[in-house]
């Protein structure tokens, strides 16, 4: 993923890191990286920039300002993605029917063959197909192949047993391959 401009850490957080400059830089990088991954996942689930930004903002505020960010031990990425995912799924559930219609209309716009050729075909087509897939299937494929999470981390994010990750991922990849068959 591309590096993004630095963001200012909120006043009063990460007090331990502030006492040590290299640690503070690492903490800043961690937070930027978390924001990037969280935003990408929210966008992948919600399909709308503003909604994704809202979910990431809520998640960061919830975790950082409650002190949970400093208190958490272990890898922060799966843990943060889990919070973002829950926020995104909550937003999906609360969405008004007309919002869903608007999104599905966007998805239904089928590009002409010439347009497809012009766009970076395969990646664009895969993205379109992923957006049309069921949310649960889309997210497991993206958590593995886009966010590079291990099966154990995916299990943590999706709150499922580690043993079921492989079978669910297989079904989702099979579905995607089926949809993409004529382009491969």
């Amino acid at each position: 993923m591309e590096c993004s401009p630095a963001i200012a850490l909120p006043v009063g957080i990460l007090s331990e890191e502030k006492m040590n400059a290299p640690h503070a830089e690492n903490a800043q990088e961690d937070l930027e990286s978390l924001s990037d991954h969280g935003f990408a996942l929210a966008l992948q689930l919600l399909g709308r920039h503003e909604d994704a930004a809202d979910v990431v903002q809520d998640s960061l505020r919830k975790l950082i300002h409650s002190g949970q960010y400093n208190a958490h031990r272990g890898p922060k990425r799966p843990w943060f993605l889990k919070v973002v995912r829950n926020g995104a799924l909550d937003m999906l559930r609360k969405r008004k029917p007309e919002d869903e219609e608007a999104l599905s209309q966007l998805k239904d716009i089928d590009p002409s063959p010439a347009e497809v050729a012009e766009q970076n075909e395969l990646k664009t087509l895969i993205r379109q197909q992923l957006e049309e897939m069921d949310v649960a299937q889309r997210e497991i494929v993206l958590l593995r192949d886009f966010h590079n999470l291990s099966y154990a981390e995916i299990a943590e994010v999706m709150e499922i047993r580690a043993g079921t990750v492989m079978s669910r991922l297989h079904r989702a990849r099979k579905e995607l391959r089926q949809r993409m068959r004529r382009y491969l």
Binding site: I7, L43, L142, R144, S167, H170, L176
Partner: protein, 150 residues
């Protein structure tokens, strides 16, 4: 090697992700050497996986990042501080002006132009100050660049 392509396909995801046991991994390797269908499936999955990793998604804007990182406690404190300063300013100077005008209007020696002119100036200043504050509040709520550091 005798195998069922459907069953093997279920292992291919795990193989691709390096999540299989050594035994299953070897089994997949032997099968994909013999079976063209399974080898093709693995090839397709590998290709899809590589492409998905390279999909470009949008990023948060700078303003969104800064907004997300703002401390709500500090933000609320700053807002309360602003309200108190503005409120205190209005009460203090309002009271001062009230007593000055009251004394001046009661004094018979004060010329008429001052009795009319000074209250008009103070009232005008009050209206101007109020309109500036309202404009600033509106601008701070709608300016997309307010959080960008220069």
């Amino acid at each position: 090697m005798n195998h069922n392509c459907e069953d093997t396909e279920a292992l291919l995801s795990g193989y691709l992700d390096g999540e299989l046991t050594q035994g299953d991994r070897q089994r997949v390797e032997v099968i994909t050497e013999d079976c063209q269908d399974c080898a093709q499936t693995l090839k397709d999955m590998k290709k899809l996986r590589g492409e998905i990793g390279g999909i470009e998604y949008e990023h948060m804007t700078e303003a969104e990042r800064l907004r997300a990182a703002k401390d709500p406690v500090a933000e609320a404190g700053a807002n309360i501080g602003q309200v108190l300063v503005i409120g205190g300013f209005v009460i203090f100077y309002g009271t001062l002006i009230f007593f000055v005008l009251k004394g001046m209007l009661a004094d018979e020696d004060t010329p008429l132009f001052m009795k009319i002119g000074l209250p008009a100036i103070f009232i005008g200043m009050g209206i101007l100050l109020t309109s500036v504050i309202i404009d600033r509040i509106k601008a701070s709520k709608t300016d997309p660049y307010k959080d960008v550091e220069i």
